[in-house]
């Protein structure tokens, strides 16, 4: 069984080669090395000759499942490599009817947690880089669904989420909470990177792409930015797979996952524990109706 980074990488290349040569897949999406040691980036492989571009290292954080959306109306059969979180995203996209299982091949890769690329950029070369924040609390490092799998399953290093950061905000007064989020969302430049990388943000059209509607102004200020942030958080509630990519790609370092975790905490207490995307049969708590749903507001 391949288990080291090098062995898994080698196996990735072998599988990609096999899939492309046999015609089972028309393209393979994996990761290649980016500009800097702490950057690994998606790569599209169409020819067996190019499989050596594929790499597997501690910075392959980006989820590749969302790329499947781009090919749903084409004749492509796309193979992707997928970590635990990526397979949860895959299940969620299947549930949302945004991708089709028969048009994709999922090659599962157990993951030992990715490193924090943002911290790596700030640290001196050679320094020990901490694990990415979202990965620290990952309970599903092993693929939850796959057509093929590389390597042996790993033992999850986290059994329960740490909500202490959410509780710290909950403990603040209303004014303090307001001041905190005000200072964070003042920074937002509304580039929508958080939305565009998010597997839960898979709508065919988004309220924030319809400025003529007047729902949200293009004026960039703390108020409009918070409207964007809060609306998005509400919309991904119950469907967030906690990959943490929104926060990781934010050029302004807004702690987006803090809000997502608050929603997760509330949903768990209101509707019972829910883990988005661990299978395709359990509906997301806010995507269906049950007579036992709390209705104190009625």
């Amino acid at each position: 069984m391949p288990n080291t980074f090098a062995e898994i990488q080698n196996e990735m290349r072998n599988i990609a080669k096999e899939l492309l040569e046999s015609g089972e897949a028309t393209m393979v999406i994996g990761w290649e090395k980016g500009a800097l040691p702490y950057q690994s980036t998606p790569v599209m492989i169409r020819s067996a000759e190019d499989v050596d571009k594929l790499i597997w290292d501690e910075y392959c954080q980006q989820n590749l499942s969302t790329y499947l959306i781009d090919y749903i109306y084409t004749d492509e059969k796309v193979a992707i490599f997928a970590k635990g979180c990526d397979t949860r995203a895959y299940n969620r996209l299947i549930q949302d009817n945004r991708i089709k299982a028969e048009k994709s091949i999922v090659i599962g890769v157990p993951c030992l947690g990715m490193k924090n690329a943002r911290e790596a950029a700030k640290l001196p070369e050679g320094a020990e880089v901490p694990m990415a924040n979202a990965c620290k609390e990952c309970r599903y490092p092993n693929p939850v669904t796959f057509d093929r799998k590389i390597g042996e399953d790993v033992t999850p290093w986290c059994t329960e989420r740490d909500f202490s950061d959410v509780e710290a905000i909950e403990a603040l007064s209303a004014d303090e909470k307001y001041a905190f989020w005000q200072s964070q969302y003042t920074k937002c430049i509304r580039c929508y990177a958080c939305r565009n990388i998010c597997p839960a943000c898979n709508c065919t059209s988004c309220i924030f792409d319809q400025s003529a509607s007047g729902w949200c102004s293009k004026d960039v200020n703390a108020s409009e930015n918070q409207f964007y942030g809060v609306t998005r958080a509400f919309h991904v509630a119950g469907r967030c797979i906690e990959c943490g990519q929104c926060e990781m790609v934010c050029p302004s370092e807004v702690p987006i996952m803090l809000m997502n975790k608050k929603f997760i905490k509330d949903i768990d207490s209101l509707f019972g524990a829910h883990e988005a995307g661990i299978d395709i049969d359990t509906p997301a708590p806010l995507s269906h109706f049950s007579v036992s749903d709390p209705e104190e507001f009625m």
Binding site: T41, I189, R190, C191, A193, S211, V220
Partner: protein, 334 residues
């Protein structure tokens, strides 16, 4: 050259702040940008001089949201109220050389021979730029390959050239405006100094002939290869010091409103959406191609200069690490 000990920088900035509206590079809760010095003074932000800021100084001349005028309906008549110009001179401290070149790019657009944008011009005329040379480039820096002079900031933009000389900063006036500003500052010493040693940039290439090559590559498969991973977010456009596209829209409340100019990005669907629903740039490929060609070909053809200044922000911040230097090298090697 005039000097000040680094330990006295605060007193120098305080002097500037007393005479001008002073803008300095700061770290505000993890976001680095130019902000009023009062933020540093009050401890809301920390002065940030270790590297270039994430949000470029284009915000000073072309804010992300800017009111162009106020309007209100008075019966059947429309009343327009102009926005006031800057009420005092401002100093922009610590602009890196790549960004001074970027401001020159913006000048080509907003101070065009046929029309000078009044709001842009007002800010350009009333800003004194202190440009700081970089001794230690970041791993993402490639300004030298884009033709930027690392020893001297763009002369049409900088007013005062600043050098980091280890224990002290050296200042040299580049313009009359800069000279007058320096003359009025106390606590500086005069003398001569050798320019600091500048470490080489790790990204280096020869971009000679790039626009000509790209002219023949509109239908090249390279666009599919690069565009596939793009998320069509606006990070690159918004942090880019030269990306200057904007949208004009209204912000209404009752019978009054603001005409706003807000940044826009060619990565967004609404950017090229036409009345009637036609979308001439429907996907990633068309949008990525447009952005790269604007930077590396079209602007060259129109203004004889590149619209990429090698600041490296997009390499550092693009969520999918779209690497413009890799693209350039690949095109050159074609």
């Amino acid at each position: 050259m005039k000097f000040i000990e680094k330990t006295n920088l605060t007193s120098l900035l305080a002097q500037l702040d007393a005479q001008y509206r002073l803008l300095v590079p700061v770290d505000y809760h993890g976001l680095t940008q130019f902000a009023p010095y009062s933020q540093v003074d009050s401890g809301v932000s920390q002065l940030y001089l270790d590297g270039n800021v994430t949000v470029s100084p284009k915000t000073v001349y072309l804010p992300q949201s800017e009111a162009m005028y106020k309007f209100s309906a008075q019966g059947k008549k429309l009343a327009i109220e102009e926005m006031p110009p800057l009420d005092r001179m401002q100093v922009l401290f610590g602009v890196r050389h790549c960004d001074t070149k970027a401001i020159q790019c913006l000048d080509k657009v907003f101070l065009d021979d046929t029309f000078a944008d009044p709001q842009y011009k007002d800010k350009r005329d009333k800003t004194i730029v202190f440009s700081l040379a970089c001794n230690n480039p970041k791993a993402t820096c490639f300004c030298e390959s884009m033709g930027i002079d690392r020893a001297h900031a763009e002369q049409s933009v900088a007013d005062v050239q600043v050098y980091d000389l280890g224990e002290r900063y050296g200042f040299e006036a580049v313009s009359d405006k800069g000279q007058a500003c320096l003359n009025a500052l106390n606590g500086m010493t005069d003398g001569e100094a050798k320019l600091p040693e500048q470490k080489p940039q790790s990204i280096s290439f020869d971009a000679q002939g790039l626009p000509e090559k790209l002219k023949e590559m509109f239908d090249h498969p390279i666009w599919d290869e690069y565009a596939f991973k793009c998320l069509n977010c606006g990070t690159c456009s918004y942090i880019c010091p030269t990306c200057h596209c904007f949208d004009i829209n209204n912000k209404m409340r009752g019978t009054t409103g603001l005409k706003l100019r807000t940044w826009d990005s060619c990565m967004f669907g609404e950017y090229t959406q036409m009345a009637g629903g036609h979308q001439p740039r429907p996907g990633k490929k068309e949008r990525v191609r447009n952005r790269f060609l604007h930077k590396l070909q079209y602007f060259n053809e129109k203004h004889n200069m590149s619209l990429c200044v090698g600041c490296g922000r997009c390499i550092a911040k693009c969520p999918v690490n779209m690497d413009i230097t890799k693209f350039i090298r690949q095109v050159i090697a074609e």
